[in-house]
Symmetry: C2
Subunit: 193 residues, 2 copies
DNA sequence: CCAGTTATGGACCGATCGGTCAACAACCGC
DNA sequence: GCGGTTGTTGACCGATCGGTCCATAACTGG
């Protein structure tokens, strides 16, 4: 009994996210968002609220999707340690685009408590996913039993974020991959049996 | 034969840098800069040029000072491997403030070629400083001779940047230190003699 | 103490910011 | 096909943006 929307919510959120991703939150104007999405200001406001709400929505969706993808990659790996290797190597794939969550955290964590809170939660979720896989690798005999899974998961996460940052900073893909493989070799050595 | 300046250039640059550091480049207005520095707009423009020039100046100074401090820390360490350990542990000290260069790179490297270029140069300089110290550690017998100094330096740099990012993201100091020490233990193990 | 020069600070500029709103368009149930 | 409801669009708003400019201040050489 009313006019239907002329857009797919997911498409708009993807386009808006890519715009925020490319330029950052503060440097993105509403005009940028209307151009990227094809919607007018009023439609954006009617559907998603103001600029900040819209941004938080894209960030939440990104975190949700990323965590789901990570969980799948970790769980579907035959040996847990291979999932962990993939986790590290994935940090070398983003290149200059970087990670949307990492970029947003760096730009806004210091001034936007809401973003800081989401970042904290997201990183904690990731650590728990990785830690569970570390435990599985221990059960499978690919990692020493003495390791604290959560602490080691944080180390792996820091290594991955380091890779993401070096990619963002323009380190060539070849060298970035080399660093990722070096991390794999030093942090996840093939177990001696 | 003219009116002298009423400010110390270094003081103004420090205050301006801290403002950019706290809020980011795009989110900092000229009014923020005049408030932080105590100077009027005209004085800022007369002394340093426009907002972007002023920002680049603070970034260049930061890089110069940071590299000088790093070089000193690395060179004054009795054993080179201790300097490398300090390099990693330093990544855990910045906490939520983060690193000015890292924050600026993340915010602007994708859209500001000038910043991207400075970031590339700066990280390359740091890698060379660290690589030289890796070579010294090899000569001192604290690191295996087979390691490629530059490649390993990049790994150490990525680890440090990962620590910086996790600190920026709000990881508690205690856990951050734990990760830093874990990196030290896994990447720079006490040599067996 | 005056002439010349530079520094200062804030009024001012056009442009753009995020956000609002009203007129109009498109659809559904009846 | 009509009334009611929601979506769409772009003109419009006050605020703020980065940047300019000028009247005035503060100093030095002569």
């Amino acid at each position: 009994m009313a006019r239907p929307r002329q857009f797919e919510e997911q498409d708009v959120l993807r386009d808006v996210r890519d715009q925020f991703w490319a330029a950052g939150y503060a440097a993105t104007s509403l005009e940028d968002l209307t151009r990227a999405s094809g919607l007018g200001k009023g439609s954006l406001y009617g559907a998603f609220g103001d600029k900040h709400k819209l941004f938080m929505r894209t960030l939440d969706d990104y975190v949700t999707d990323s965590c789901a993808g990570l969980r799948q990659n970790l769980e579907e790996s035959e040996r847990a340690v291979d999932g962990l290797r993939g986790f590290l190597l994935a940090g070398a794939l983003s290149l200059v685009q970087g990670c949307y969550l990492a970029n947003s955290t760096t730009e806004l964590a210091g001034t936007d408590p809401e973003v800081a809170e989401r970042a904290r939660e997201a990183y904690e979720r990731i650590v728990l996913l990785v830690a569970a896989t570390v435990e599985r690798a221990q059960r499978e005999g690919d990692l020493p039993a003495g390791i604290d899974p959560v602490a080691f998961a944080r180390t792996l996460q820091a290594a991955q974020q380091g890779l993401v940052h070096m990619g963002r900073s323009g380190l060539p893909a070849e060298q970035l991959t080399q660093v990722a493989e070096d991390f794999v070799a030093r942090l996840l050595p093939p177990v001696s049996r």
